[in-house]
Symmetry: C2
Subunit: 309 residues, 2 copies
């Protein structure tokens, strides 16, 4: 029995070690060294090339190395009828939640502006709202968005959320669907994006969306670069319509040195580090799903290819 | 009946308006326009000059405009036997807690390092610990330090605290007194200072203290500038013993433009904005204490001049 590991950004050594501890009989093969393809029962992947997954006769499921699966559905042809799972894990959720809280608090406490003042040695107190006077809006109320919204509500923020289908979260005002989008934006002073990237959410942060926010709002993107029309975001920052942004994800990663985001005032750029899949917890999930499939049960955290998440 | 307002940094208009709503019969006078001194029953002060408080025959209590009272005890001669109160308020505590969480999370998630990389367009993921693997240490476990420690424990951090007298806080390992100081420092990767400034804590962050922290620790000062021997802090940052610092308070405020802290890599400087007394809640506390004193009860949040907090 073998697992095929396919990623240019994750360390195969860390994962091989993690599987070695949990399930020594599982042989980890690193693409393109697939060996006898009939042995491969699971593929653990990040941005796999199309040809990698198509002729594996005994493939039981495809596991995404991350919480998102857009990297799988976008350009890759997938074998029919093979379940795809995304990575859902308490540690990953906790990391994302702390990054969301960090950067929503940073925008709330005007850190991007103080960082702009610091090299000028400018000592000046900026007006400050209390958390309960601050309207935070979370785009996406799945595992990650829901956890962030709840934690932010625990700071006393006036939190709303928006999702494709209606959700109910205690302490969070929930908007849904196309009709709920504009009212959600109109009340949002700090917008946090934790949406999955699908054809329906591609480019959702564009000129029209940004114009619907109150003037001086801030934007935190911990979703995907593909959610943003980057030229529209830059224009909103330059005009002052957006006061600040924190961007962890981009259309092109690594963000090219010539990108204006690197040097845009009141923008914090981090290199896609909001949440990182831990090989030990990740391997545990894969092993658990292998056992479930063997018992004839569906794998956990399976995604729906028809909606893309 | 009159209140004497003495501050060069707070707005007398905001406070006058707040008292006007709550207690119209209380006349707010702004130093040095004290009028008939016999009318004055309460002084609301920030860094008052010594002569301001000495010949007020009917002064019932002195209220600090902030949570700290070091500005009162340091250089001011105070009238004998007049109680002094500090400002304790849920909004002020919440603001301080959110600032503490913001900047401890910033150090935990290596934001000062990413900010240093950003102008160089350097896209590189730095190794990251989980919160439960991260040891945070809070200096001071009073109203503010205790609230911050509890909130940080809620993120899963391994939180310890140190205070002069022993405290018990659920989820927080409590160290106390001179004997507990070194063991507390030895295990602290992110040190948060929320101590009161007293003769005993003046200069407590010095070469010896910083050398007792693990190499690569971070320091967040939301206490007072007087807690820090600034040359020792700079040396620790320059040698790399300290990985990062967030400084909201300084020996001299406003921080002079020539201070090296403004341009020190991996240091975030903010202009003493961690928590701001809200005039409406502040006025409510003063009015409540006036009523208590009239009923013969001691005022709330009275400080002990013998220990300085």
């Amino acid at each position: 029995m073998a697992l095929l590991f396919i990623s240019k950004v994750d360390s195969p050594e860390d994962w091989t070690r993690a599987f070695g501890k949990l399930m020594p009989e599982l042989e980890v093969r690193v693409w393109p060294e697939a060996g006898n393809k009939a042995d491969i029962e699971v593929a653990l992947v990040w941005r796999p090339p199309s040809e990698a997954l198509l002729d594996l006769p005994n493939l039981k499921f495809i596991a995404s190395l991350g919480a998102g699966v857009d990297h799988l559905f976008r350009d890759t042809r997938l074998p029919d009828g093979v379940p795809v799972t995304r990575f859902v894990d308490d540690d990953l959720t906790a990391m994302m939640t702390e990054y969301a809280v960090l950067h929503v608090l940073a925008c709330h406490r005007r850190l991007p502006e103080y960082l702009e003042m610091q090299p000028k040695a400018e000592w000046r107190e900026l007006p400050q709202s209390l958390a309960r006077e601050r309207k935070v809006g979370v785009l996406g109320l799945g595992v990650l968005g829901g956890a962030a919204a709840r934690k932010l509500a625990g700071f006393g923020f006036d939190v709303a959320g928006w999702s494709r289908t209606r959700k109910v979260l205690p302490g969070v005002t929930c908007f849904a669907g196309a009709d709920g989008f504009k009212p959600f934006l109109a009340r949002t002073e700090i917008l946090l994006c934790l949406l999955p990237l699908t054809p329906a959410t591609e480019g959702i942060i564009n000129r029209e969306t940004l114009a619907a926010l109150p003037k001086g709002a801030a934007f935190v993107n911990l979703g995907r670069g593909g959610h943003v029309v980057e030229a529209d975001l830059l224009a909103a920052l330059e005009s002052g319509r957006l006061r600040a942004a924190v961007l962890d994800v981009f259309r092109t990663e690594p963000l090219p040195p010539e990108s204006p985001f690197w040097r845009q005032p009141r923008v914090i750029v981090t290199p896609h580090v909001a949440s990182i899949t831990n090989p030990e917890s990740g391997a545990r999930k894969v092993v658990e799903n292998l056992a479930r499939i063997r018992r004839g049960e569906p794998p956990l955290d399976q995604v729906d290819p028809s909606v893309g998440y």
